[in-house]
Amino acid sequence: MNNERFELNKNLAQMLKGGVIMDVTTPEQAKIAESAGACAVMALERIPADIRAAGGVSRMSDPKMIKGIQNAVSIPVMAKCRIGHFAEARILEAIEIDYIDESEVLSPADDKYHIDKTAFKVPFVCGAKDLGEALRRINEGAAMIRTKGEPGTGDVVQAVRHMRMMQSEIRRLGSLSPDELFDAAKELGVPYDLALYVHDNKRLPVVNFAAGGVATPADAALMMSLGAEGVFVGSGIFKSGNPEKRAAAIVKAVTNYEDAEMLAELSEDLGEAMVGINEQEIELLMAERGK
């Protein structure tokens, strides 16, 4: 990936800002998501809550299923590959996916190396739970970052923890004097030039979304207030009682996250939220995959 391609790929993420990216498993769900106001959809065979319930090895989705969703909607379509599985990523690139999510939600294919994302033309989004992870993924070529959160739980606590961690580390880096940055970069395990960028600009060099555990309009508003530039909603929508209504409410909550009166209105009568699992009750912490 040359520099111009990387810029274009970062630019696409900029166009997604202030929006909601929704997990969908069928063309019908994709259409519901699009008409509810999703700015992009994530095509996958099973949403994280079901992956968690089913157990076993979880892999890239069937390209035919992804193509069905590409044909069903006009908004960008993303799909997931396993961490380190560059062959799956090549397949997704071959079907002209708009964004690849190298995702801890699937079973990792490589427990040491992430994909060299600079070798691809299509953009990648990667999960991170702190600034070091985020900058390492960007150094590998990720054009967009999201918090890992804890997918498929409907529990927002980990997304909050990861977003707060990232923001506070960004503030800390911004407060250092230039001669302290060399050591800070070493401590974070990231290249100096990326540490310098964060120091100078007080933000990541790419767009940063929240993901993992967002289930309500209030969750989405919380994440936006904590500095997210948009929100991924996975299991939260199609595991709830009224997906259309909940999806549309979360979209509006992201746009007007500071207006509590509007949020109150949006939160009314949404039907049942996904049941969810508390973080103490889960055995598998997906966020610990790929650091």
Binding site: L8, N9, N11, Q14, M15, G19, C39, A40, V251, N256
Partner: protein, 197 residues
């Protein structure tokens, strides 16, 4: 000079930064009550036209905005903004504000792999960098529409009276030329209003 930027979804912060650097007073429009603040120019940013069009309606801003633009408020739409202003979108049944006499093609260069950057001539300005992200282009333009730029024979920037549209994203480049062009449109409306008084 006050410029309102539609901040429902998309790359509004980038426009804000650029217009702010050019000395305009900029604020975000996220809901109906923001329209009451009064502004001299209006920007519709890039993003997803489906999302912005839906939120415009559901947040009760659609009719008011359509009226003020029809009454001559200078407006600048990039990418999704172009689609929101277009009278026709060839490959989409949705009609949004439908004020500008153009037929646009949505996602006209295909998916993200079709996104590109190029330098090309813009009328009265000269060569500027242009970034196209899953961009549309204008297939047909009415007689009252002035074509401002073409890339590969396709119309990528145009103006009809108070409406300026680009299929590309000047706000993602280093060049402020198109934003200056827009601010000049706003100024000329203002000075005309002064003369009329």
């Amino acid at each position: 000079m006050k410029i309102g930027i539609l901040a429902l979804q998309g790359a509004f912060a980038e426009h804000e930064k650029m217009l702010d650097a050019l000395g305009a007073e900029v604020f975000q429009i996220r809901q109906r009550s923001d329209l009451d603040r009064g502004f001299d120019g209006f920007v519709i940013p890039g993003g997803e036209s489906t999302v912005q069009g839906k939120l415009l309606r559901e947040l009760g801003m659609f009719d008011d905005l359509k009226d003020v633009i029809r009454n001559g408020l200078p407006v600048f739409g990039t990418c999704a903004g172009l689609l929101l202003l277009a009278k026709n979108i060839e490959n989409d049944d949705r009609e949004h504000l439908g004020l500008m006499n153009i037929t646009a093609v949505r996602n006209a260069y295909g998916r993200q792999l079709g996104s590109f950057a190029v330098a090309a001539e813009f009328a009265d300005i000269g060569e500027i960098p242009m970034t196209f992200i899953r961009a549309p282009y204008i297939k047909k333009a009415g007689r009252d529409v002035r074509i401002l730029a073409r890339v590969g024979g396709r119309i990528v920037a145009a103006r009809q009276d108070n409406m300026l549209v680009t299929a590309f994203h000047p706000e993602l480049t280093q060049s402020t030329a198109v934003h200056e062009y827009f601010l000049n449109m706003v100024r000329s409306v203002q000075s005309k209003a002064l003369r009329d008084v």
